[in-house]
Each structure stands twice: as structure tokens, then as C-alpha cells.
């Protein structure tokens, strides 16, 4: 007796829906029948999970002194392989060169490189090479656009619905600035300015638009984190766990998500710390992990040497930090130490070299755009 596996799709769906997106992407090439099954929206809805592991990071250089011009090349640094190759061709399927703006649940939001006569915003899934695009709205070119895509809130069984939130910094009176929010909904295809605004004299920096449980967070350069809830149109400034006065040197930090919680990773003379946001109204943080620089060095003596001295030696913000936490998600941290990029895993407390900074481009030392990538099969047709 030879069993028939495809009498109905129940059994293959039952087995395949338990596999991570990365494996399924490969299994599309088993046959066209499997390709159809794996590309099916109801299958993808049943397969989507919050525990999809971080596959890698997208890394893009920016010019340090100007917003008017973009650097075209984007590197993909996989973290779940033995031998790390840096890939540059991931976005070749898009009609033009792009600048990364935000990424969640496998979908990337990006824009045309500036200068551009007809700038556009793209939302794409690099795994299946599908994309959709819209005109850059009537907002400043320096606005930050973040993607709010949450397939657990808005299932993708019929269509893929997402929102975009553009944050712009406007002058609100004498020496006072505030952030305003424009929201785009894929359902209406329209932009709309929210009534909400948030007085803040700092700039958004690094890790732009991190989505945690449907709420967006942006790191600012003033020990505050901007928060905006696109559903209820409500914003807030969350104070960082430690004030600037706490440090004698100049620390570096980044924000990210770990299983539904907002995390703040900081490297200072006190070591490597991971804080978790407990209450955003009260700006209450819990110190989850703290590793002194001495211990960090001891545990990774093959890659770190005299880091206390080097971290303390940074005198001004314009010089790159010796150790710079670039991007964080689900317990893995992409970190630059001197001229190398490493992956730090909080669970095993181990550091692994991924590549030289120079392989990522000539200006990659200075505030690059870095986003963590978790794969998903979500369609964008």
C-alpha cells in the first residue's frame, strides 16, 4: 500500500505549518504543488508565529553630515549560518535603489534614495520578492516613516493590511519643537495627520520605529524614547532607565524587542545592560541583565581586550564609540567593537565575529541604519 499524501491538504498543512519561514521558503522548490500550498494565504496565516527566529540584520550606511543624499548599497548579514557571507543583492527585485526605514514581521518599509524627483515608499517582502508602493506624501524628506504591520492583530488570510506612521519634527514656537504624526492606512490608501503631537526638543536616532505589541518606539538622542500608538493615536515620551548625569563617559544604546517587551540595551562604564520597559506611563524599567565590562571581557577574551579603558576613552559624541550596540531583537545583539561587527547572544553570553566593518562600506562606522530581520511568508499581492 502506498499512501497518498495529497488526497487532501490537511496533513501537509499540519506538518508544514510547524516549520519556520526560512525552511518553508526552501521547501517551495520541492514542487509546484508545494509552492502553491506554501504561498496560500490561509496556510501562511496558520504558519505565522511570534517566535520566528532572527535570521540576520540589514545594514545600510548613511552620510554623516547630510540627509539630502542617500547611500544606495544595503548589506544583509545572516546570523544563523556557520560561515557568514555578506549579501548585497537582496533588494535587486525592486525597481530602484532604496533606503531602509523600518521592518517588522518580515516586511520592510523603505523609500527611494534622495535626491529623487518622484520619491516613493515601498513595502516589500524580500523573501517572496513581492512589493507594493505609494507616493512619498507631502511631508519633509527628513521625516521618519515606520511600518506598523501586525499579522496577529490583523490576520493576512484575505489581504495584507498595514499602517505607516510618518514622524516629522516641526517648530512649535520659539525654540520649541514637536513631533507630529501622519498615518497611512493600506485599507483606505490615504494619509491623514493625527491630532496628537508630542513636544520634544530631541532628534530621532538609530533604531527607527521599533514595533512592540502594535505600538511604535523611536530612540531619541536625549535619553528619551518616543512612543506612538497608531490605533489610539496617542504619544508619549518615555524616559530612559538612566539619566545622562549617571555616566562619566558617553554611553551608546539601542532599543529593540524581546518577546513582546521593549528593551533598552546600553554599553557604558557600568558594562553591558539590558533594561526592559515595565510601564511606559511611569517610565519604569527593570534591569534584566547586567554584565560588567570586566566579565564581558573575561567571557569573551578571544575577541575583547582592555575594553574598560577603551570605553572610558570616548570624549565626544561625534567620535564613534569603541563598542556600539547597533540593533537588538529577541536576545541577540548586533554590536560593533572597534572595526568589527559581532553578534552577542544574551542567553549564552557569547560573542561571535560576523564581519569587518569595512566590508559594509567606507562610512559604516557612523550611525548606520540597522534593522533585525525575521523572515515571514506574508504576501503583498
Amino acid at each position: 500500500m502506498k499512501p497518498c499524501w495529497f488526497e487532501n491538504d490537511d496533513i501537509p498543512i499540519n506538518i508544514l505549518s510547524r516549520l519556520p519561514a526560512k525552511t518553508l521558503h526552501r521547501l517551495k522548490y520541492v514542487s509546484e504543488e508545494w509552492l502553491n500550498l506554501i504561498s496560500n494565504r490561509s496556510f501562511i496565516t496558520s504558519q505565522l508565529r511570534k517566535t520566528e527566529p532572527v535570521s540576520g540584520f540589514f545594514f545600510q550606511e548613511v552620510f554623516q553630515w547630510t540627509d539630502d543624499e542617500s547611500i544606495e548599497s544595503i548589506s544583509y548579514i545572516p546570523v544563523d549560518v556557520d560561515n557568514v557571507n555578506v549579501w548585497r543583492n537582496v533588494f535587486d527585485f525592486l525597481p530602484e535603489y532604496i533606503v531602509i526605514m523600518s521592518l517588522n514581521n518580515g516586511l520592510l518599509c523603505c523609500r527611494s534614495c534622495f535626491p529623487s524627483s518622484h520619491p516613493r515608499i515601498y513595502v516589500c517582502n524580500p523573501l517572496n520578492k513581492q512589493w507594493t508602493s505609494l507616493q512619498w506624501p507631502n511631508i519633509s524628506q527628513t521625516s521618519n516613516v515606520a511600518l506598523a504591520f501586525n499579522p496577529f492583530q490583523n490576520p493576512v488570510d484575505v489581504s495584507t493590511r498595514f499602517k505607516l506612521v510618518a514622524v516629522s519634527d516641526i517648530e512649535n514656537g520659539e525654540d520649541e519643537y514637536c513631533f507630529v504624526f501622519d498615518i497611512y492606512s493600506s485599507e483606505t490608501g490615504l494619509w491623514r495627520r493625527s491630532k496628537e503631537c508630542c513636544v520634544c526638543n530631541h532628534n530621532l536616532t538609530k533604531n527607527k520605529g521599533v514595533l512592540v505589541n502594535g505600538i511604535l518606539y523611536w530612540l531619541t538622542d536625549g535619553y528619551q524614547i518616543l512612543m506612538f500608538d497608531p490605533e489610539n493615536e496617542f504619544s508619549l515620551l518615555v524616559t530612559a532607565p538612566l539619566p545622562e548625569t549617571e555616566f562619566s563617559g558617553i554611553p551608546e544604546m539601542c532599543i529593540g524587542e524581546w518577546q513582546g517587551e521593549v528593551c533598552y540595551v546600553i554599553i557604558s562604564e557600568d558594562g553591558l545592560q539590558l533594561w526592559v520597559l515595565e510601564d511606559h506611563f511611569a517610565s519604569q524599567w527593570e534591569l534584566r541583565i547586567s554584565i560588567s565590562l570586566e566579565n564581558l571581557e573575561k567571557e569573551n577574551s578571544n575577541v575583547l581586550y582592555k575594553i574598560s579603558e577603551k570605553v572610558a576613552s570616548r570624549l565626544c559624541k561625534d567620535t564613534p564609540a569603541w563598542m556600539d550596540p547597533l540593533s537588538f531583537k529577541d536576545g541577540v545583539l548586533l554590536i560593533r567593537v572597534s572595526a568589527n561587527v559581532y553578534l552577542y547572544r544574551f542567553d549564552t553570553r557569547s560573542m561571535k565575529k560576523l564581519c569587518d566593518v569595512s566590508t559594509l562600506g567606507p562610512t559604516s562606522m557612523f550611525y548606520p541604519i540597522v534593522v533585525p530581520y525575521t523572515m515571514s511568508l506574508v504576501p503583498l499581492d
Binding site: M1, V30, N83, D92
Partner: protein, 167 residues
């Protein structure tokens, strides 16, 4: 051949069912175990006959499913013990055996076991080459070599063939 369900007490004998595999062998199963299968439960509700013939499940597979059902029908076992039995049950089983098991549990509608087996199969498949999957499921590759090479080139960034196994 009639294999008695060891754990079933004698008094329960009149509450037993005989299940015949496609190989023709018969298995004696307590009704409390049989009804854990939604399909068997339906059959037993509909007819008086205590002999059920399963035309697409072989001896080996049926024996495994019955062992599972009997364990889960045993009120003397704690949930923890049943859970560890489930883990033990699938661990070390060949992929081929699991394929027949998943089909049988689907036919018999034993949802929990179907999930456990499907999960185990997915775990095994996670690090396998596409060629291995085709072989195991007896699927013809309908891509041309050129088309496949092109896909592999474009998708190389998302693949990691280096870690994959072919056996």
C-alpha cells in the same frame, strides 16, 4: 490473532472492541481507549457491531496507535506521565514510520497524536535538503534544472545549504 489490551481489566471485556487492520489481524481494545479516536467513537455510536475494519492502516501502525490510545485511556496515569509517554512515543522513530502514523491518526482523528507526530516530522524536516524531502514524500521535481539554478542564485542569501543534511 487477537491481541489483548494488557492493561484492560477482565470486567471491561464486554466493553471492548475488535479492530481489524488492512493486513487482516485483529486487535482487542477497550472501548474507553477506542473512543479517544473521534472516528472510532462515531462508528461505535452508529452501529452495534463490535468489529471495526480499517482498510488503510497496517498492523505495525495500528499497534502503535492502539498503544497510544490505551495509555491515554488509563485513568491511573498522571498527565505528566502521559506527556512523557508522548515524547517517548515519537522519539527515535524513523521518518517512514511517522509518515504512516500521521496518516493513520488523521484517518482515525486522534488529534493530539496527529499533532505530536506532525511536530516530530517537522523537526526532522527542518534541516533537510529539498532533494531529501522529494525522496521521502515521493514527489517529482517539476522544475527544470535551469529554473532551479536561477532560483537558487537569486535566493542564495536566504538559504544555508551548508548546514543541511541529505540523510
Amino acid at each position: 490473532m487477537v491481541t489483548t489490551d494488557e492493561k484492560g481489566p477482565l470486567t471491561a471485556k464486554k466493553k471492548s472492541v475488535i479492530i481489524r487492520s488492512c493486513d487482516g489481524d485483529e486487535f482487542l481494545v477497550s472501548e474507553s481507549a477506542a473512543v479517544l479516536s473521534t472516528s472510532l467513537k462515531k462508528i461505535l455510536e452508529e452501529k452495534e457491531d463490535r468489529l471495526i475494519h480499517l482498510s488503510d492502516i497496517d498492523n505495525k501502525t495500528l499497534a502503535m496507535v492502539i498503544a497510544y490510545l490505551s495509555t491515554h485511556a488509563d485513568d491511573g496515569l498522571s498527565d505528566d506521565l502521559k506527556r512523557s509517554f508522548d515524547q517517548e512515543f515519537v522519539s527515535g522513530k524513523e521518518f517512514d514510520v511517522l509518515k504512516y502514523l500521521v496518516l493513520a491518526t488523521d484517518t482515525l482523528q486522534v488529534t493530539c497524536l496527529c499533532y505530536t507526530v506532525a511536530k516530530k516530522m517537522a523537526d526532522i524536516m527542518k534541516n533537510k535538503l529539498v532533494e531529501w524531502v522529494r525522496r521521502e514524500f515521493d514527489i517529482q521535481n517539476d522544475y527544470t534544472p535551469e529554473a532551479e539554478a536561477e532560483i537558487r542564485r537569486l535566493d542564495a542569501w536566504a538559504w544555508d545549504d551548508r548546514q543541511l543534511e541529505d540523510d
